[in-house]
């Protein structure tokens, strides 16, 4: 092939002559096209980038005048376009020509149109505004009778088309699927695929047409449709299992050479088609034995047929191997595939070797012995001259790392790391090394040194999780405290040595890690006094090359060390230096240090030694200020209102501009004082607010706590499951051994064994034995003779759980404290004080009182109401005092909150379990399966009853529920329901939770059973679940409603027409309560407040108002999509009744 492209630029002059000599009838055309020639010749003659730029700018300005001149014909424009394309390709801006490209596509004849379309597709992008101008042209061309025009239109549609304009062309393109010419059908299929990619919901309805395309009599069209199926099956393989048979048949035909010879490429039948089909089969057969069984034959045939004679057969083989290892395994095939991998790995062709390594990497988890077979090749690849091969080998080694070979593998990785300069590779590799080091480190020294290498090479490009995790590991430690101290001490010592070196620059991140560790743990070192450490930190602080972020870390370290130091010279110097710093951040730190420095005792209590992991308890609600607040209030200060409340008020005050129906209805409803539907809470009390803000503060403070800084949540458990997996796989004896010892043993053994081998080979052998130790079964491993493993050193404690539970309790405490302390505020000035006792009946009385107040026009007396609500909230903790130290157990707080207002009791709630009727879901001649739903308070319980019709005993009956998106399904082993247990019936219970709100979902599953001696029969079924199955009433008080209402950001409003029979409030209320399971919180005039929750605990509030035959609904929730779904259900219910 290389001889094809032999002419070089030396041929240039001749070519120009040709062009210019072309003259004749199309003389002006030739002269025009020679301008492109002239331009190119000009550019090639130039020597510097600068000259080129000048020339092109000149050319562009010429073009600009030409294209905008009215005398320019479309033909000339065509030539201009080509030159513009050339300039754009070189990276110069030719945006002035975009509109002309569109014009050319619109107005030109076929040839000009073609250039126009090409220019548009090269110049513009999908969201470019000019593209809209092209839509009409595309529509016109799609309808053209000229095939070329249709082709061009389809091409442009598949390259760039504005998403919002898809509906305009979709029907036209759908029509093209029936076109008589296959090239059109093929392009139409690809255009639709493009639509599927950018706007999948718009082409949902034509999936059936995709199936038709798959069955097209033309191979090309069928091949095009495979693009779509590959994509869709990748997204959801379960939906296309039924097509497996078709794909297998197609592949059989292709492999069997049934296609026209045209499709052969180097006498291989349609290789790309085979590749695509194999990929699809791999996706379909994954973890699915039944589907996989269908394809064993054809895979076997593919493997057999692909004789190794050409590059492209290797491509097919590679896909075959990949598919064989992806689907449900079959030993024969695996054997053959393993052989194939061998061929790849051993091939002298480097591309094949690369793919062989790739295949090995993929396969290694299932079959580690395969790596052992090829260990020598892998070793060779490690020193391969091609860095890509090396990378792939390291990737492979990364997968087979265990506690025994970790040192060798990490060493190899570090070597590679030192050679590579590409940032991307460094980031990737550094992450892997850090992970391996954490997982398998044999000892402290090695671990710290490896991490040092990681930090100094990875520097500031690495993922921030790496230093965070490292620090957390140091801080949290492991099971053995002494061991932890050793590790920390080693880290401190190694950092101090590193800092001693002169003229070495460390990355900022590394310095940050160092400063944290030194600040926390340098007390462990006896050799260096805190003063010495501080001196070192001080030196760094004075260094100009260090970023101010790192300086902040250094400052923090100095601050931590200060209480341990005896003299304070350095600190004083620092303070002096930095209190005048221009960096405000550093100045702030300096001042903080200054003030702490003045009170050493406080400093010591504030910065205790080795306490970085302890949780701090902070009174975030600032309850100690409550007394002060109360005093101010009694002197007539305005109560504090949180930000969102102030905003709401402000909004509702601008009544003139409020065009929403709600604004109007409120003013007409006569509640002049009310400004929001949940107006009761408008004057909500100080205590309530402080509780709320307190809670928020707790969160944010926690976020800034040390814990949070060192990593994201959810990391630890993942890690842990990984390590535990590893432990299962590998036997872990107690004894630990250092790698050098291992090497010694090998050498001894080898000396006796391989005298003939050259020294070099011996080295490789050595390396191999140290690399592949611990892989596969004992017998195959051993070049070593001895299989010592090292127990996992850095296994983490399950700290997260503890922390979490700790956090929740502290939050809880916080709430209580703020409740209790706030109670005091109201306590002092509440003139209902005398009435308040901790007895039930009194409380009840108060409730009626408050509801009376609510019902009357007393809303003008807001303060009164406010106080009332205060009383209610605070009743349980009347005896609490003001001290922030005292935390109360939640006692009866919850009880009072959960208490309902007397009105609600008018509408009784049924306490017993409600359930649906028994419904048969599937049956056959022997058994029938029926199910019913039980709407429990905390979940939806699905019960399936499998009963045999003949009354025979059911053996080995199993019921499986397929995991479904959106649902969390857990089996309930113990029967929590009285169910008739008979020999011929079996019942299965599953509790179902919804993870994301939606309208309706399907739960499918299957029953396996065995009757007497017959074989196992499987029966599939599915059950419909709707949102309402997961909605439960939320029992809250009006005040809580008000508070919640304000705190929710997602709201939806809608007016629904209702029938005359529903028009009265009670009727509408009844419908909502019964059909949607809403809890009626309160009724005020013709308005109602309702609340519900989506299990497990997403609240949703509804405020509604009846106005003639219109029901104004207003939903609010913490979840963004829930209100929409609920509204939909509401509409359905209201219209249905």
């Amino acid at each position: 092939m290389s001889d094809i492209v032999e002419k070089t630029l030396t041929a240039l002059p001749g070519l120009f002559l040709q062009n210019q000599g072309g003259g004749g009838p199309a003389a002006d055309r030739a002269s025009f096209s020679s301008r492109l020639g002239g331009l190119i010749r000009g550019i090639t003659a130039l020597t510097s980038k600068h000259e080129e730029e000048k020339l092109i700018q000149q050319e562009l300005s010429n073009l600009k005048t030409t294209v905008s001149a009215p005398t320019t014909t479309l033909k000339m424009m065509k030539e201009c376009m080509v030159r513009l394309i050339y300039c754009e390709m070189l990276g110069y801006d030719a945006s002035f020509g975009y509109i002309h490209a569109i014009k050319l596509a619109q107005q030109g004849n076929l040839l000009e149109k073609r250039v126009g379309y090409l220019a548009v597709s090269l110049f513009l992008h999908e969201s470019h505004e000019l593209l809209l101008l092209l839509v009409n042209t595309v529509v016109k061309d799609l309808q053209s009778t000229n095939l070329v025009e249709v082709c061009m239109a389809l091409t442009i549609v598949s390259q760039i088309f504005p998403r919002e304009m898809i509906p305009a062309v979709l029907p036209l393109i759908e029509d093209k699927l029936q076109h008589s010419k296959e090239i059109i059908r093929r392009k139409a299929v690809l255009a639709l695929y493009k639509f599927h990619l950018i706007a999948p919901n718009q082409v949902q309805h034509i999936h059936i047409k995709f199936r038709k395309a798959l069955c097209d009599r033309d191979v090309g069209v069928m091949a095009a449709s495979l693009h779509i199926y590959h994509r869709m099956i990748k997204e959801n393989s379960s939906g296309y299992k039924d097509l497996t048979g078709s794909f297998v048949t197609i592949l059989k035909q292709v492999v069997g050479g049934k296609l026209p010879v045209d499709f052969n490429y180097h006498s291989v039948p349609a290789p790309w088609l085979q590749i695509q089909l194999l990929r699809i089969l791999g996706l379909l057969g994954k973890d699915d034995q039944r589907t996989s069984e269908l394809m064993y034959d054809v895979l076997d045939e593919s493997l057999r047929r692909a004789e190794l004679n050409h590059n492209v057969t290797y491509a097919i083989l590679f896909e075959c191997v990949h598919t064989v290892y992806s689907i449900y395994p079959k030993s024969e095939l695996l054997e053959k595939a393993a052989k194939c991998i061998g061929k790849f790995v051993l091939s002298p062709k480097i591309n094949l070797k690369y793919l062989g390594l790739k295949a090995l990497t993929y396969v290694i988890q299932q079959d580690p012995t395969l790596a052992l077979q090829h260990q020598m090749t892998i070793i060779e690849c490690l020193d391969h001259s091609d860095p890509i091969i090396k990378r792939e080998t390291l990737e492979l080694l990364y997968r087979i790392t265990n506690a025994q070979n970790v040192t060798v593998i990490v060493q190899k990785m570090l070597e590679y790391l030192h050679q590579s300069k590409e940032e991307y590779i460094i980031i990737n590799l550094v992450g892997k090394i850090a992970e391996l080091a954490e997982k398998y480190a044999p000892d402290n020294a090695w671990f710290i040194q490896t991490m040092n290498a990681v930090f100094s090479v990875g520097g500031d490009v690495m993922h921030p999780d790496i230093p965070n995790n490292f620090l957390r590991l140091l801080a949290e430690g492991f099971d053995d405290e002494a061991e932890d101290q050793q590790l920390r001490l080693y880290a401190v010592q190694s950092y101090l040595t590193l800092l001693d070196e002169e003229n070495v620059f460390y990355p900022q991140r590394f310095l940050q890690v160092m400063s944290w560790v030194l600040g926390e743990y340098s007390y462990l070192s006896d050799k260096e006094t805190p003063e010495e450490v501080m001196t070192k930190l001080y030196k760094l602080l004075m260094n100009d090359s260090i970023s101010s972020e790192t300086k902040a870390w250094l400052f923090a370290a100095v601050t931590k060390l200060r209480p341990q130091a005896h003299s304070s010279n350095i600190v004083e110097r620092l303070i002096q230096e930095f209190t005048v710093s221009l960096d405000t951040c550093l100045r702030q730190h300096a001042f903080e240090l200054k003030h702490l420095h003045e009170n050493v005792e406080l400093m010591k209590s504030l910065l205790p030694v080795n306490k970085s992991c302890e949780d701090m308890v902070v009174d975030a609600s600032l309850s100690f200020l409550d007394g002060f607040v109360a005093e101010e209030l009694s002197q007539g200060a305005a109560p504090y209102k949180p930000h969102h409340q102030r905003q709401e008020e402000k909004l509702s005050q601008e009544k003139v501009l409020n065009f929403e129906p709600y604004g109007l209805s409120f003013s007409s409803s006569g509640f002049t004082g009310r400004q929001s539907p949940a107006g009761i809470s408008l004057g909500s009390d100080v205590s309530g607010n402080s509780a709320e803000t307190g809670l928020k503060e707790t969160n944010s403070l926690k976020l800034e706590g040390i814990k949070k800084l060192w990593g994201k949540e959810g990391y630890l458990p993942k890690k842990e499951s990984k390590t535990s997996d590893e432990t299962e796989v590998l036997p872990v004896p107690q004894e630990s051994i250092i790698m050098e010892n291992v090497d010694q043993t090998i050498t001894k053994k080898d000396q006796s064994q391989v005298l003939t081998q050259s020294k070099e080979e011996k080295e490789k052998q050595l390396l191999a034995s140290s690399l592949f130790v611990g892989l596969g079964s004992e017998s195959t491993v051993n070049l070593l003779g001895k299989a010592d493993t090292i127990s996992h050193k850095f296994r983490r404690k399950s700290k997260v759980k503890e922390t979490k539970s700790g956090e929740t309790t502290s939050v809880h405490n916080m709430t209580c404290s703020s409740f209790s302390s706030s109670s005091n505020v109201t306590y002092e000035e509440d003139y209902y004080l005398d009435n308040l006792q901790d007895t039930e009946d009194k409380e009840l009385k108060k409730f009626t009182l408050s509801s009376e107040l609510l019902d009357s026009e007393s809303l003008t007396e807001l303060p009164l109401v406010e106080k009332l609500s205060n009383c209610r909230l605070s009743t349980p903790s009347l005896f609490a005092d003001n001290n922030m130290e005292v935390f109360h157990p939640p006692q009866s707080t919850a009880a009072s909150v959960a208490n309902e207002i007397s009105l609600a009791s008018l509408l009784e709630e049924t306490a017993e379990l409600t359930h649906s009727d028994l419904m048969e879901v599937c049956n056959n001649e022997t058994i029938s399966v029926s199910s019913y739903k039980i709407w429990k308070d905390d979940c939806l319980l699905m019960v399936w009853l499998v009963s045999s019709k003949s009354g025979e005993e059911l053996k080995n009956t199993n019921l499986e529920i397929a995991p479904a998106k959106n649902f969390k399904i857990t089996e309930q082993s113990e029967c929590c329901l009285p169910v008739v247990e008979a020999e011929n019936t079996k019942n299965f219970q599953y509790s179902v939770q919804m993870e994301e709100p939606f309208t309706e979902g399907n739960l499918s599953g299957s029953v396996n059973y065995q009757m007497m001696d017959t074989h196992v029969v499987q029966l599939d079924f599915s059950v419909n679940l709707s949102l309402l199955d997961f909605i439960r009433p939320l029992k809250i008080s009006t005040e809580d409603f008000g508070k919640l209402w304000l705190s929710f950001a997602n709201d939806v409003k809608q007016n629904v027409k209702i029938s005359a029979s529903q028009a009265a409030l009670p009727a509408a209320l009844k419908t909502l309560r019964q059909n949607l399971r809403l809890h009626v919180v309160d009724i005020i005039g013709n308005e109602g407040l309702l609340a519900c929750q989506l299990l497990p605990s997403i609240p949703c509030l509804l405020h509604f108002r009846v106005h003639g035959d219109v029901l104004a609904l207003w939903f609010r929730s913490s979840c963004s999509s829930l209100p929409d779904y609920l509204l939909y259900q509401c509409q359905k219910v209201m219209e249905g009744s």
Binding site: G91, L122, S158
Partner: protein, 193 residues
């Protein structure tokens, strides 16, 4: 899916740049430059696959390239494409170019940039492989070339005549289009009679 197809010469001068995914203009140029530097460093006897690096989307993307005399052909693809398959697709593309230009060289790519794009459009459409059958690709391109010739010869003739000739000169054109035209005309004729 194919993200981009780049052709540049041994000096890094771009000869064909076609992106199937949206990148801003500067990033496109940067990708061309960086790809060139990546590819240039490599000997001819090492493997033809490269990792795309952070610029084109990370580890999921591969650069697959071939070097012919003065030109590098680089395809940037994601993991849904087979490496060796793409390698042969480059071969198909180049062979097609060779057939269409009769002994293709770098100059053909420079002076007939638009034609190269048209050929490419028949191989890869919107990032998806459309056709791998070389004869079919050549046939499609030839059909378009004939169109060009016919148009050049009849540049002065009225547009109607041009389109008539176009259809005559294209044997690939399906009959039904002509029939369709006739059908439209028939009622007119009957009215005249």
């Amino acid at each position: 899916m194919i993200q981009a197809i780049l052709v540049f010469n041994n000096h890094g001068k771009p000869r064909l740049v076609r992106f199937y995914q949206r990148f801003p203009e500067e990033i496109q140029q940067q990708i061309v430059r960086e790809t060139f530097h990546l590819v240039l460093k490599r000997d001819d006897n090492i493997c033809n696959f490269l990792e795309g690096g952070s610029l084109i989307g990370g580890s999921d993307y591969k650069l697959i390239y071939r070097h012919y005399a003065t030109l590098y052909f680089v395809f940037c693809v994601d993991s849904s494409e087979s490496e060796l398959g793409i390698l042969d697709l480059i071969q198909v593309f180049v062979e097609t170019l060779d057939k269409c230009f009769e002994n293709v060289c770098e100059l053909d790519l420079i002076f007939h940039m638009d034609k190269v794009h048209y050929i490419l459009q028949e191989v890869v459409m919107g990032g998806m492989v459309l056709e791998t059958n070389m004869n079919e690709i050549v046939a499609q391109v030839e059909a378009q070339n004939r169109l060009e010739k016919s148009e050049g010869g009849l540049s002065a003739a009225p547009a109607r005549a041009v389109s008539a000739v176009k259809n005559i000169n294209l044997p690939e054109m399906p009959r039904n289009i002509n029939i369709g035209d006739l059908n439209i005309k028939v009622p007119n004729l009957s009215q005249f009679v």
